[in-house]
Amino acid sequence: MTILQTWIHTPLAKALGWTLFHFLWEGAAIAALLLIALCLCRPAASRVRYALACLALLAMPVAFGITLAVSLPPAAPHFAVHPNVAPTEVWIAASAGPSVPPRSTLADRLAWAGPFWMAGVLGILLYRIANWMAAQRLRRVGTVTASECWRLRLESLVREAGIARSVALLESCLAEVPMVIGSLRPAILVPLGMLAGLPAEQVEAILLHELAHIRRADYLVNLMQIAIEGLLFYHPALWWVSGVVRAEREHCCNDWAAARLGNAHRYASALATLEESPWRAPRTAMAANGSNLLRRIRRLLAKPDARDLAVPVLPSMLLVISVGVALAAWSPDRPLRKIAKPDPAAAPVQLAQAPAAQRPRLVAQVQQMAPAPLQESGSTSSNDSMGWPYQRWLNEDVVYIITPEERSAFRKLLTDAEREQFIQQFWQRRDPTPATSQNEFKDEHYRRIAYANERFSSSDGRTPGWRTGRGRFYITYGPPDELDDHTNGDPNPYQIWQYRYIDGFGANVQLRFTIDPTGGSHLDQIVSPSPVATFEATANSGKARRSSVQIYPGGNVTFSIREDFSAGPFDSIGNIRTAQGTEVANFMDTGSQSDSLNRRSTFALAPGSYVFSMRLKDRSTGQIHNEEYPFEVK
């Protein structure tokens, strides 16, 4: 205590006290100038607004520093240099006259503000260091490198964005939202399962937003911003300016990402879908109205926002209060009571205790095409109570024969007893002779799986037989009625399987399977029947690259990509939506040659109207080619 008492009588303590006091109106003035400047520029000009807000934020510690330098004792001859002309000179003239008693009382009291301020800064600094360590930990713990397909995709996005650093893509089991961590070695963290569970185009939109942050070095700017916040924490105007910086920063990234994507609506939909997705499940209490997503989407779609006009009211009032407090305190007749009024609305982190509201699950059930259904396990966080044997039953044993309705019904079950009963009924429904204890269908199904695993597995052990092209058809439709084998001595070994009839395809189905060197296989071509309709999107850059959709008589649809690899890398993203806009299937191909298994996918569509849309992008020229075709399944 004695140290403190001697300290507050030093000139430094007095100067600090005055600086803290004078920053009240200085900060308010800077914020007021920013407010005026923001009112003058268009809401769409996010980059200008961001620059202005950053300038204002930077001006605050600068003003603080200058005031402190000027207030220190030997500064007497340099008063005229002070940039803030009128009020400062008034104060200097006043404080230079120590003969006025009330003012010296005020100065003595102000000297006490210094220690409190320093304690506050120290506390915030420690808290921020802990925050920083927690962020580093988030990057280190519970993360796994994303699949090669997505890493390659990100790499090409990074190149296109003109980012020189390499960006890591990690799936994290602790992250609830996609985020960027780090500045020199930036990493994008996404919630585990998001990459597989969201439509490819939407994942890409999110990644673009994160890349925008990396491109603009926002992580570093944010660290500086946090440092300034810590230094001048006691001023509400600072928190308002800082909030403007944050909001405009997100706007900048949104604008950039939407421009890259070429469609603001799709970008906004991606944000909305992500917000609704199961990874967003709150683990702790959440603020009832805390999200700014609505405003951001409204801005992206360029709708006028009534609330935008109302926003400056609160900060303006705070400015008036700050200035008022400063002036009242400065007036020589009244002793100073309050240094600053803390602003509850601008507090950095606020957790309102609201009951976790029930969220409607609006995410469309996406039929994953490219990766085998096993990978769906990541996207099924809703059934977190489902035990491992049941997951396996759903995603391996019956994956090809369970209907979408049965699948969603099974997922909604809560107890293992219900699941056991469901499985029993599942087989009973398919039993050709319900009267007997024998279930021929089930026995045959498991025999086919065993056969596929025995005969069609790849020799390197990577792909079990049931996941190969031949395995899939064998398990679903049984052995072919005729088999034309071209595996002996053929440089490009293949097999033609012929079925007399397959539901969804029609009569006399001929399938051509390419056999990989490892023994795996994939469906290469449907030789017959001919599709009733074929849509093709072709991108030309000397060589051809085509993506096509074929509709077969029974409503089966295949998606395929044909390309001349020497044509250079292409990205293809496609999807099929219902007339109402619900996505029923999506497809992505990043042009790497390793994922040849994913180049053709087959699935069935219910009767109705659909739209197939395809986006082809030449990665070397950046040329984008969009196609949309409506079609009917009868």
């Binding site: 925050n131 939202v177 609704e276 709150p282 683990r283 779609l301």
Partner: protein, 130 residues
């Protein structure tokens, strides 16, 4: 068949292996080792040892029917997440890390009313642009 007591909270190193198993599904030790090596060079035997210990603890299940033993996380991701949410360090700092990171979505989630309005907005826009 099911163990009556819950598996313990995983350590950081164990969590890394679990994350691989959640993201890739049932895997051999070699698969897990490959995935981890993409992040940092690690000895195969280290991963093997860890996974054997984890099997003893009940964090992973081992399928010994095939020649190469296949491991699978014994509990779903959400279970472990809940477990970790109870961890003091996570509770104290896990949420606050968010002031340090950048992201497309804010930490605070939109309310149901807001989401409904967002959907309405998107639909209207789509109709208007057609």
């Amino acid at each position: 068949m099911r163990d009556s007591h819950e598996p313990p909270r995983p350590t950081d190193a164990e969590l890394e292996i679990l994350t691989v198993l959640w993201s890739r599904g049932a895997s051999t030790v070699r698969d897990v080792h490959e995935a981890i090596c993409q992040r940092k060079p690690t000895q195969y035997t280290t991963v093997l040892k860890f996974m054997q210990i984890m099997a003893e603890k009940g964090l992973v299940r081992r399928d010994e029917k095939q020649r190469a033993h296949i491991y699978e996380a014994s509990r779903p991701q959400a279970f472990t997440q809940r477990q970790l949410a109870g961890d003091l360090l996570q509770r104290a700092f896990g949420g606050s890390a968010k002031s340090m990171v950048m992201g497309a979505l804010s930490v605070r989630k939109a309310s149901r009313e807001e989401l409904a309005e967002i959907r309405k907005l998107l639909d209207e826009y789509e109709k208007g642009s057609r």
